[in-house]
């Protein structure tokens, strides 16, 4: 096997067609979506709850291809975007301590807290290191035994097991100066919160492909059983997304509600039991705040007592005021699919990617960032 081949890449997950095949497949699927939508007649709203889906939908221009009565709305699918201000304030406060090194994925750096950001803290001299894997934290901790090395554990089910593995690896290696600051979250409780929110109307979900790699399909069954709403686990190519939309429309047309898997090349029905074992070994579920949505019961992950020695919030509690979001920012409503970014008074004016006010504009997977990047809100998509 060549080095290039050995270099496994996330995009290996998406089935690639030739351009001609892709165009023909997409055209046939759009025709089928139009046929089904015309048959159903009433306005339909399908929600994606994955930042990578959001970006793929915009990049491919899928919203513009859909018939008048089919809207795609974006849900709370970007972990950075749903992270509350006071988490960022805590991270910044830890970063400013002389005895701390903060390790984080790069996308957290520009996220605004209530006063500042990690990028500003770094400019002011805080020791903040960007890592590509939580395990990179181990080397930093080994080289800096006198420092507390805190990994910012932000993510959904896909990423949370990797931070849990960091804790287990640190314990195995006897590295006591490795800590997590956890704001990790679970997707199914958020779907339940959306489905019980009277302001939110959703006819079906494009379920997140890479979350499902870990969770499997069973955790989404309540969406169909309790709320009679269909869901399709979806891959990330435009054709995969269109194919999932067809499957959602087919269910809607028949008044059915099932959880289906359109990403079978990667997602197994049972998910990854090994990843879930790692999660269960390190974390327990707690009520957790989601930006713009509020506290969602049992939607957060905190470290179990057995691993408390690696929980920075237990070792060194950091009291920060509960953050106030920027008064004009409508990120919370955007994250629930209630308004589109264009309805926010800040969008494209005070709030642009180079000067983001809300987290939906900061993250490259944020809904506002996608709207801005792909057309700056000029197009009439997502009615």
């Amino acid at each position: 096997m060549t080095a290039a081949k050995a270099r496994a890449h996330a995009s290996a997950a998406d089935g690639k067609l030739t351009r001609k095949e892709e165009r023909e497949a997409a055209q046939a699927l759009v025709a089928e979506i139009r046929r089904l939508a015309a048959e159903i007649e009433r306005p339909l709203r399908y929600m994606e709850v994955c930042g990578t889906h959001t970006v793929s939908i915009f990049r491919a221009g899928i919203r513009q291809l859909l018939p008048e009565n089919v809207a795609l709305v974006s849900g709370p699918g970007c972990p950075v975007c749903v992270t509350a201000d006071d988490y960022m304030d805590k991270a910044i406060a830890y970063a400013h301590r002389d005895d701390v090194i903060l390790a984080t994925f790069g996308d957290m750096l520009k996220v605004p807290g209530s006063q500042s950001s990690l990028a500003e803290a770094k400019a002011e001299g805080a020791d903040i290191r960007i890592v590509y894997s939580p395990l990179d934290t181990l080397a930093i901790a080994r080289e800096n035994p006198e420092k507390k090395v805190i990994f910012l554990a932000v993510g959904f089910e896909t990423t949370a097991p990797t931070a849990a593995a960091l804790v287990l690896a640190a314990e195995q290696a006897g590295l006591q100066n490795v800590y997590l600051l956890s704001a990790q979250k679970l997707v199914p409780p958020a779907l339940r919160a959306l489905l019980t929110d009277p302001e939110v109307r959703v006819d079906g979900f494009l379920l997140p492909g890479h979350v499902s790699v870990v969770t499997g399909l069973d955790v989404f069954q309540f969406v169909a059983d309790e709320f009679h709403t269909p869901g399709v686990v979806t891959g990330f190519t435009p054709v995969a997304i269109l194919r999932s939309l067809v499957r959602l429309l087919q269910q809607t047309a028949k008044g059915e509600a099932r959880i289906e898997n359109e990403y079978e090349s990667v997602v197994q029905t049972a998910g990854s039991p090994a990843a879930r074992r790692t999660l269960a070994e390190v974390y327990e579920t707690v009520d957790a705040p989601w930006r713009g949505i509020g506290v969602i019961p049992q939607s957060g992950l905190r470290m179990k007592a057995a691993h408390a020695a690696h929980d920075i919030e237990r070792l060194l509690p950091m009291d920060v005021p509960v953050g106030n979001n920027h008064p004009g920012c409508r990120c919370g409503e955007v994250l629930r699919g209630i308004v589109t970014p264009r309805e926010c008074p800040l969008f494209g004016k005070a709030c642009i990617p180079t000067h983001a006010i809300g987290p939906c504009m900061v993250s490259v997977e944020g809904v506002c960032a996608a709207w801005y990047k792909y057309g700056q809100g000029r197009f009439e998509f997502g009615k």
Binding site: A8, H9, A10, T18, Y132, A169, V267
Partner: protein, 54 residues
Amino acid sequence: MLYYYHFLEVLPVGDYVLVHAGFAMQIVDEKEAEETYALLDEMNGAPRTVEALS
């Protein structure tokens, strides 16, 4: 420590895996992986070969 670099029940050498944040998350379909690499190679200047795979 290597144990923690993957979340697979077994680690069959030669298979393709989905990697996230440094961890092998799942074994993926070989045909899709081959096509992806053909496209990546093309992106890096190699002649187009992806049609030959399907």
